[in-house]
Amino acid sequence: MKDARQAIYRYALLTRASHWLWVLAFFVLVGSGLQIFNASPNLDASDKSDPSRRVLAIGSPAEGVGTATLFGRTFETTGWLGWTDDGMGSRGAHAFPSPVTIPGYQDLAGGRRWHLFFAWIAGLCWFAWLVSTAIKGNLREMILRPDDLPKLWPMQAYYLKLRATPPPHGTYNPLQKAAYTTVLFVIAPLVVVTGLALSPGIDAIANPLTAVFGGRQFARLWHFAGMLLLLGFFAIHTFQVLTQGVINQMRSMITGWYQPE
């Protein structure tokens, strides 16, 4: 019988490489996306711009004041949104502060260049990872299946310490499978497709695509909302790694080797 304490080779090189490339590409896409958002800091649930269907508006109603208006309710956000650090040593009317945008000063042309380049990196990386994982037959380990559904709550109960042991599962537990399946096969593809849908050239060659999402401004809204969901996944994922043996977890995603407890 195999020694339970022996290190196991958990992640293939391509999985690890694509994981870290995604981390890089994700941060670049969020930062450059916020730079692009700043050029027109509104989100409308419509095809063309329409203030009567405005979901989010970030602005500066007066010098030195920043506000964010979400579903018609306005909050003062000076310093955080609307009136923020301009990256040039002072504050100005910038929706998101320049330190979180790429580049770290107002440059729509530059932000677009970063965004459109790293969109390719993230997309090609996803495709390479998907093909190699599918060929190796490891994909089914992480895809949520109907028989995983009854195990979702027992797994959550275990995390909440309401249950002594996790339900029996394979390489990934049912909640991990749910998270990975949703992020890799629902949210990330939706973010890519909505990004394409808000482009006039794509709208011209694939007319129904933009219409499916409710039009150009609506696609922009979904694109932004998808980014927030991915940020939410990132926060939970990082929290899990930090609280569940961070050194072992990080080592396994860098070298591939995981040490079972």
């Binding site: 941060f27 670049v28 969020v30 930062g31 692009i36 958002f37 050029a39 027109s40 509104n42 095809d47 063309k48 711009s49 990256g87 502060p97 320049s98 330190p99 979180v100 945008t101 790429i102 580049p103 770290g104 000063y105 440059d107 729509l108 042309a109 530059g110 677009r112 260049r113 970063w114 459109l116 380049f117 969109a119 390719w120 394409l196 808000l198 482009s199 006039p200 050239g201 794509i202 709208d203 011209a204 060659i205 694939a206 007319n207 933009t210 219409a211 150009r216 401004q217 922009r220 926060a235 990082t238 929290f239 930090l242 609280t243």
Partner: protein, 245 residues
């Protein structure tokens, strides 16, 4: 404690995006690497698709002005004062029959009306009803030579620093069935802020390609020797020449 550390590290990781990337953004070599995506996008999207056409009820009666609101060329003020009676659209360069067009001559050519969406690079969009002469029809009238690869649009505007506003399309884009030399917006002649008397409409690309206040269309074999060499005023500022995405 751990949670606070986690939140602090997440926020500082996000806030590092700007300071880390700004020096890279200023590096010409790095910008060339980033710009490689443009050719790929142009290749994949191509120029054959048709922009969606809308209904009358979708039209924005108050059409938002893109770019600058008033042209700064002194000739323009004189032309506008004379209601553009003295306006001549010059079409020359690599063509067999260079000539000029008065507004009356343009009005006598077959007219196209399109209700299309204007997608600004900043992120907003508006729908307008545009009428005018198809660029392809105008080019056919001057017979481009086989060495013509670009249509370069010279505008009666500059940025105050002496840089003239210009744009360019390749011949495929220029002959696109929706590439329009618009003279009317929402059933009335173009007003000053929307590009009177003649502007370009390229609904399959971002709004900055739709140059306003056009004085001259020059057919050329290349754009490298014009101004900043990137095929347009905004392109010289770093924006993509192919603006379909």
């Amino acid at each position: 404690m751990r949670r606070r550390l986690f939140i602090a590290s997440t926020v500082s990781a996000l806030a590092a995006c700007g300071p880390i990337t700004s020096p890279l953004n200023d590096n010409a070599g790095f910008r060339r690497v980033l710009a490689s995506a443009e050719g790929l996008n142009h290749l994949l999207i191509g120029t054959h698709g048709l922009a969606r056409e809308y209904h009358e009820r979708d039209v924005d009666r108050e059409f938002r002005v893109n770019g600058f609101a008033t042209p700064s060329d002194v000739r323009y003020a004189e032309l506008a004062a004379g209601k553009f009676a003295a306006y001549r659209l010059v079409v020359d360069g690599a063509v067999e029959r260079p000539r000029t067009f008065t507004l009356a001559e343009l009005a006598q050519m077959p007219q196209q009306t399109q209700i299309t969406r204007h997608d600004c690079v900043e992120g907003w969009s508006a729908i307008g009803k545009w009428s005018g002469v198809r660029l392809g029809d105008l080019l056919a009238a001057v017979a481009p030579r086989s060495d013509a690869r670009y249509a370069v649009f010279r505008c009666m505007d500059n940025d105050g620093a002496g840089n003239l506003y210009y744009e360019s399309l390749d011949m495929h884009q220029a002959r696109h069935p929706q590439a329009l030399l618009a003279t009317r917006l929402n059933d009335v002649p173009l007003d000053l802020s929307h590009g009177a008397p003649v502007r370009l409409r390229v609904p399959t690309q971002l709004g900055y390609k739709s140059a306003k206040w056009i004085a001259r269309i020059e057919l050329a074999g290349g754009v490298a020797t014009i101004a900043g060499g990137r095929g347009g005023y905004w392109e010289d500022q770093g924006y993509e020449w192919y603006a379909g995405i």
